[in-house]
């Protein structure tokens, strides 16, 4: 079965501390993974995708096929990082399968 699991519903991190939002997936094939973000009162937006290996707003995510994970990381959290983060997988039919989301709360 194709599935995206975000084990943490809420993650609180102090400003300046490292952030890691966990994401595990289940997919029989070569997956395409993404992270989406929704800031308070803003639209859902694509944050990054694994194929482009980019760093957006200081966030990176590496696809680990052995562990079937695509954790989102940032070395130093900033207050403006507080948001809902969704891990997602693009399936064989090009549809996106979303995780349930993790709310990241940056503490001052």
């Amino acid at each position: 079965a194709q599935r995206v699991t975000q084990p943490e519903k809420l993650l609180s991190v102090f400003k300046g501390a490292p952030v890691e939002l966990k994401c595990n997936y289940s997919y029989s094939g070569s997956p395409e993974l993404f992270w989406y973000v929704q800031y308070s009162r803003q639209r859902l937006q694509l944050l990054l995708r694994h194929i482009s290996r980019e760093s957006i707003k200081g966030f990176t995510a590496d696809l680990n096929k052995g562990e079937t994970s695509f954790h989102l990381k940032k070395p130093f959290a900033q207050e403006e990082d507080s948001a809902m983060y969704y891990c997602a997988l693009s399936a064989w039919d090009d549809k996106i399968i979303f995780g349930k989301g993790t709310r990241l709360h940056i503490l001052p």
């Binding site: 395409e32 859902l44 039919d93 996106i96 349930k100």
Partner: protein
């Protein structure tokens, strides 16, 4: 006990036809959304309803009309389908409109217009 369901999951139709995609959520949420996924996996919001009232209406052709018969349903009707309407459409719901509560996404409907 599916949270957000969409029907159909796949829809293939001819240009010029009128079609509907249905969405239902059993989470008791007040807010529902329709998104269009583009080829680069960006999700563009089309409409949002809160308690059956339209609150977001992006620049979408008039051929697209959402209908919310009750809080648990938000259907998308498309008139005179065009080739460019081919895409994956996602329905989602959340507890409120603030964006501070998580969205639950449906499985998506892949629309193919021939």
């Amino acid at each position: 006990d599916t949270a957000v369901s969409q029907t159909p999951k796949y829809l293939v139709t001819q240009m010029g036809n009128d079609k509907s995609i249905k969405c239902e959520q059993n989470l008791g949420h007040d807010t529902m959304y329709w998104y269009k996924q583009d080829s680069k996996k960006f999700l563009k919001i089309m409409f949002s309803y809160n308690n059956k009232e339209l609150i977001i209406n992006e620049t979408v052709p008039n051929r697209f009309s959402p209908k919310s018969p009750d809080k648990a349903h938000l259907n998308l009707h498309i008139n005179s389908l065009e080739l460019g309407d081919s895409a994956v459409y996602f329905c989602a719901s959340s507890q409120d409109v603030t964006g501070t509560t998580e969205q639950f996404f449906g499985p998506g409907t892949r629309l193919t217009v021939l």
